[in-house]
């Protein structure tokens, strides 16, 4: 199955060997047919339902979608960091493959996966207040992983932590090492989260709504910071957000998620200029824009996303889609490519000339390629 060349045996544990960044061939991240479902009393909730994507090093992939579309679960599934079963949850299941720098992560035992977390793949969480430990000083939270993962000594780790805090733009890092999370402002907490995430020099950063809940000015700072760090370290980044504006300026490519699936993916400018899937178009029309004249009303998407525990056959967007026809309610449109990496899942994609022409021919022929 796995080529043995990627493994060495040390006396205690076996280590994964990752090629240095410059030598890595092929995409940094390849996700194929990833599915994550929760067994709940209401039925099986397919939070991620067959997602495939690729990401090259140093590139940014934006993931957008309404709440509950599975953005967070996709990021966590890629990392292999799934929630444990709770009172109302009977179990979590994941299938499909996630290849990182050529290694399949899905089959790794937990001990080896933990080695990958932090050092190779790191995550910035949606809510820094719950992701940081409230009773541990910021300094300890940063040095902990340095000492654990990188085997640094106490003073080395402290020095690195100081450097990290100033690299994420925290003034007076010495004082803030000794602060508790609640003593920091929201923007500073998110900077600390980022410092922790990049501490061990990961090559893939999964940022789950890193700026949600922050002021625009702070949001701009955090996004600039992420972009700078990414450039310096040629990190690949998955930027999850519900704010299309965030993705527009920052992501090379953008994927739109709906009900656990990627329904459209393209170069960001292309996607925003020429969405092919009606849902992407509706999402773009629903946000108020600064460029519009005052008093311009946003166009809401009617209805609500479907219940993931009881999905009807056919296109998942059909109940809300203004272009839906018979075929949409019968068969699920596959994700097909329309050339130049523009992928979409729709039987009747919009095109610039005529939004009503069925373009299924285009879809079918491209789909076989």
């Amino acid at each position: 199955m796995r080529s043995r060349a990627g493994w060495t045996s040390s006396r205690t544990t076996r280590h994964l060997i990752f090629p240095p960044v410059d030598q890595a061939l092929g995409p940094m991240l390849e996700v194929d047919g990833l599915r994550t479902s929760f067994r709940t009393p209401r039925g099986v909730v397919r939070a991620v339902d067959g997602v495939s994507l690729g990401l090259d090093r140093g590139r940014t992939l934006g993931i957008v979608g309404e709440t509950g579309s599975g953005k967070t679960m996709l990021a966590r599934s890629i990392m292999g960091l799934l929630p444990a079963g709770g009172r109302d949850r009977l179990g979590v299941e994941r299938s499909g493959t996630v290849r990182f720098a050529g290694h399949d992560l899905t089959g790794l035992p937990p001990a080896q996966l933990r080695q990958v977390w932090g050092t190779q793949i790191a995550m910035v969480f949606q809510d820094p207040m719950t992701a940081l430990n409230p009773v541990v000083r910021v300094g300890r939270q940063i040095t902990e992983s340095l000492r654990l993962r990188m085997g640094m000594g106490r003073s080395d780790a402290k020095e690195t932590a100081l450097a990290l805090l100033s690299s994420v733009g925290i003034a007076d890092p010495g004082r803030h090492l000794r602060s508790y999370p609640h003593e920091l402002s929201g923007g500073m907490r998110q900077r600390v989260m980022i410092a922790i995430a990049i501490a061990c020099g990961p090559r893939l950063l999964l940022a789950d709504e890193p700026t949600t809940g922050l002021d625009v000015t702070i949001q701009a700072q955090i996004l600039d910071l992420l972009a700078d760090l990414q450039r310096e370290r040629s990190m690949a980044m998955v930027l999850v957000t519900h704010d299309l504006g965030v993705v527009a300026g920052r992501a090379d490519e953008t994927a739109v998620m709906y009900a656990g699936r990627i329904v459209e993916q393209a170069a960001t400018a292309e996607l925003f200029a020429h969405p092919l899937m009606p849902y992407s178009q509706a999402l773009l029309a629903a946000i108020p824009r600064l460029a519009d004249a005052a008093g311009t009303r946003p166009k809401p998407i009617p209805g609500r996303p479907p219940d993931l525990a009881s999905l009807a056959p056919g296109c998942r967007f059909a109940p809300r889609c203004p272009y839906a026809r018979e075929r949409c309610r019968e068969a699920d449109p596959p994700l097909v490519e329309a050339g130049s990496g523009h992928r979409f899942a729709c039987w009747y994609p919009l095109s610039l000339e005529d939004a009503d022409t069925p373009a299924s021919d285009l879809g079918d022929s491209q789909g076989e390629a």
Partner: protein, 366 residues
């Protein structure tokens, strides 16, 4: 009436936007009819004991014309909510006056204030905490009438059902649920229905869509605009999202650290901001417009605005603590144009165009 003062008192505050009475307050849109409904004069709200006093709102003055929508934007902690709460008199001002329809709310007795206050209703940010978790939706919406003993229980229920219908909630099925069984958007609809039951003349919306998902946000914005057309109330719309505020407001006011920076018709404010803070805020907004292209880090680009590069860079600092606001201009610690005068003297609110007010020593030139 006790405490009532004629509008346009001689002690007209310096820099109070006075132009409203003579001109349409809005800019062509549904706008106002020009009649003053709300006058806020030298409003000050402070929290906490003397040594740790938070200067949440410091000397804010403005007017609202009947029927207009005034947007209020600013970063978190700038005092937007406090201003809204002081106007609705659920938070008594430390000093200053709020005249509603010419009557000083602060001068009213408790009983009269209770009655007068019903003309001003609020919608809040957090959909969950703004509804009593123990009561059913139909009771929540009928409660305002129950408080004032309007009609019989059956009549109240009927009016509540009609109002629920009007905000797009099915009074039969959803009406008998409790708030935790609703989605965030449904909760906000119920909040709006409750607020409109007393037929208020001023609706203070404190970040009503901030906690909602994009598509639901558009639904609620449209609902508010529709209801406003039907009922003809005046609206103070508080939000931190500049694009949301622009889409719904006739005029927009910008707050920073408890002070009003700029007030102008929406289009004017966004196209030609005069205050460096307004310009910085606008340039920080990530734009989903492909024609604007990706924003280069630390150099905000906004169509048709010159010299915004240093402005965006200046916002690298964080907001100073409202416990110890900077001397002079409160924005000076983050302002790219700050001069010695700015630290020494507080810039007064000035009227630089017929309906454009700005508090800055060195307003931007266009």
């Amino acid at each position: 009436m006790e405490g009532s003062q004629p509008a346009g008192t001689p002690n007209q505050p310096v820099g109070t936007p006075t132009g409203i009475r003579n001109q349409p307050a809005g800019t062509g849109t549904e706008g106002g009819n020009g009649k003053e409904i709300l006058r806020v004069e030298h409003l000050v709200v402070e929290y906490g004991p003397r040594r740790r006093r938070v200067h949440a709102v410091s000397d804010v003055s403005f007017l609202m014309a009947e029927g207009e929508t005034l947007g209020l934007v600013g970063e978190s902690g700038s005092g937007k909510s406090t201003t809204g709460r002081a106007i609705a008199h659920v938070q008594p001002p430390t000093s200053g006056h709020v005249y509603f329809d010419g009557i000083d709310l602060g001068g009213l007795s408790t009983g009269r204030l209770r009655r007068a206050r019903t003309q001003i209703q609020m919608v809040f940010q957090d959909p969950i905490s703004s509804l009593n978790p123990r009561r059913r939706v139909r009771d929540i919406v009928a409660e305002p009438l129950a408080i004032w003993n309007t009609g019989t229980a059956a009549q109240r229920a009927q009016r509540a059902a009609a109002m629920l219908e009007a905000v797009g909630i099915d009074p039969v099925t959803v009406g008998q649920r409790r708030p935790q069984q609703l989605s965030g958007g449904q909760c906000q609809r119920v909040s709006i229905a409750r607020a409109l039951m007393l037929e208020p003349r001023l609706l203070v919306c404190d970040e009503p869509v901030s906690a909602l998902d994009v598509s639901v946000q558009a639904q609620i914005l449209n609902l508010l605009a529709d209801l406003k057309e039907q009922h003809g109330f005046t609206m103070l719309f508080i939000a931190h999202d500049l694009a949301v505020v622009k889409s719904i407001s006739d005029r927009v006011a910008v707050m920073y650290l408890g002070k009003l920076c700029e007030l102008a018709p929406a289009d004017t404010l966004y196209d030609a901001p005069l205050h460096p803070y307004t310009a910085a805020l606008i340039s920080s907004v990530p734009s989903p417009d492909p024609e604007r292209g990706p924003r280069t880090p630390l150099a905000g680009r906004t169509a048709g605005m010159a010299g915004t590069g240093p402005v965006a860079a200046a916002l690298a600092n964080e907001v100073p603590s409202p416990l110890h606001p900077p001397s002079g201009c409160r924005f000076r610690t983050r302002c790219a144009y700050a001069a010695t005068l700015c630290a020494r003297e507080e810039p007064p609110m000035r009227q630089l165009a017929p309906d454009h007010f700005v508090a800055c020593h060195f307003p931007l030139a266009h």
